[in-house]
Amino acid sequence: MQEVDNVLRIFEESRLAIEDGNGSTLRSLSDQTINTASRTQDPDNIATAVIVYALSKIIEREDYRNQEGWENFYNNLINLIDKTIKAIKEKKEFLVKKNLEAMRKEINNLSGNLKKYIGEVFRKASVNKASRIYAHGISQEKTAKLLGITIWELQDYAGATNVSEDPEAKTITVRQRIKCMEDMFK
């Protein structure tokens, strides 16, 4: 795992934010993993970014708490976060990986509407994080593969962001580009 200290801090602070029900802090913590995730493309960093972002959305939805299976799901997640923190501190990387996987698989233990809702939250979290990694300069296809989503999902989401407004994105002039195309169509 890359930048272990950072991931440890993210999970420790996330644990507190969950107790406080503070979604915006969780989102900010998730964003803080994006630089490392983009640069190293380390699966554990990417998983951390997705999980923490998904948690920010989940804890903000009070209506989920009335759904059947919520109590169990919430307690299991908290338990897995604590286990992850402990495993990082004890430098047991294989356990960190196992716990991160288990957090995502918690969805499989759900049923009915909650399973559908939480599954969708995780999917959207993956697309959101993919869009951030793409914005950092990693290609669409590469990013989609890293996050396990399709280019279609990423492109649909990224189009609504400011990615194309970055000044570096301007490479040649529109006039030059159109000239090349017109010459080709002659």
């Binding site: 630089n35 640069r39 669409q140 590469k142 492109q155 189009g159 194309s164």
Partner: protein, 232 residues
């Protein structure tokens, strides 16, 4: 013979905007081939056709493929194996261009690399070609890799070192986007909608479905169009 090589991103922009008939119209006007590689076909058609959310658009793209509006490189006598081999080399090299904190930054994947590999093969065979790419990274790598280095450095807040010459790896590829293609469709009268805001609507539709074009560039295209109409 000449060719336009489509990346998945450009096909997705056309498909998501319901403008595949216009793409077909452009092909009819083009004295050459619209080519997609094996990997691009997978990303644009074969995979999304199995996902309910994108099934319809992927089916529509598949129809273009069946009708030979979009064709595989073998229609130009280029072997898939050759493209895959070249693309793998290209991915391998391109992903070792930029380094941050002494670690390579992997920036592209196989489908994107296949388009560039095919473009290089066609250029070697003296077949004029253009790449149609809507996504930003590959386009920047082809046209101005220095800008990509600057972007990575700014976004990652890390000093980026260039360890390989991007121009040597990529060659001289020329890139167009769905925005330019839809402008061509508009100019050639392939757009059924009428009115003075149609071009604006088309360009913004492409932008919001993922074509990497800035507001300023859209204004430039519109201004070019106004000047051409004035001259007429």
């Amino acid at each position: 013979m000449k060719a336009i090589i489509f990346d998945a991103s450009t096909l997705i922009s056309f498909a998501m905007n319901g403008l595949l008939d216009e793409l077909r119209g452009l092909k009819d006007l083009f004295d050459g081939k619209f080519i997609i590689t094996k990997e691009v076909k997978k990303e644009a058609i074969d995979r999304p056709i199995t996902i309910k959310r994108f099934e319809l658009q992927a089916m529509q793209l598949k129809t273009l493929f069946t009708e030979k509006v979009l064709e595989l490189p073998k229609s130009l006598d280029v072997d898939d194996k050759l493209i895959t081999e070249d693309a793998k080399d290209l991915v391998n090299s391109a992903n070792k261009i930029f380094y941050g904190k002494n670690r390579k930054i992997e920036i592209i994947h196989l489908g994107e690399a296949e388009c560039v590999a095919l473009s290089k093969i066609l250029t070697e065979r003296k077949i004029p070609n253009l790449l149609a790419i809507d996504e930003r990274t590959m386009r920047m790598l082809c046209e101005k890799p220095g800008n990509l280095r600057n972007l990575l450095e700014r976004k990652l807040h890390t000093k980026i070192t260039v360890k390989k010459n991007p121009e040597k790896i990529i060659g001289n590829c020329v890139v167009i986007r769905s925005a330019e293609l839809v402008y061509m469709a508009y100019k050639k009268g392939l757009i059924k909608l009428k009115g003075n805001m149609v071009l604006d609507a088309l360009l913004y539709a492409m932008k919001y479905k993922g074509c990497s074009i800035s507001e300023k560039e859209i204004q430039e295209i519109k201004s070019m169009d106004r000047k051409k109409q004035f001259i007429k």
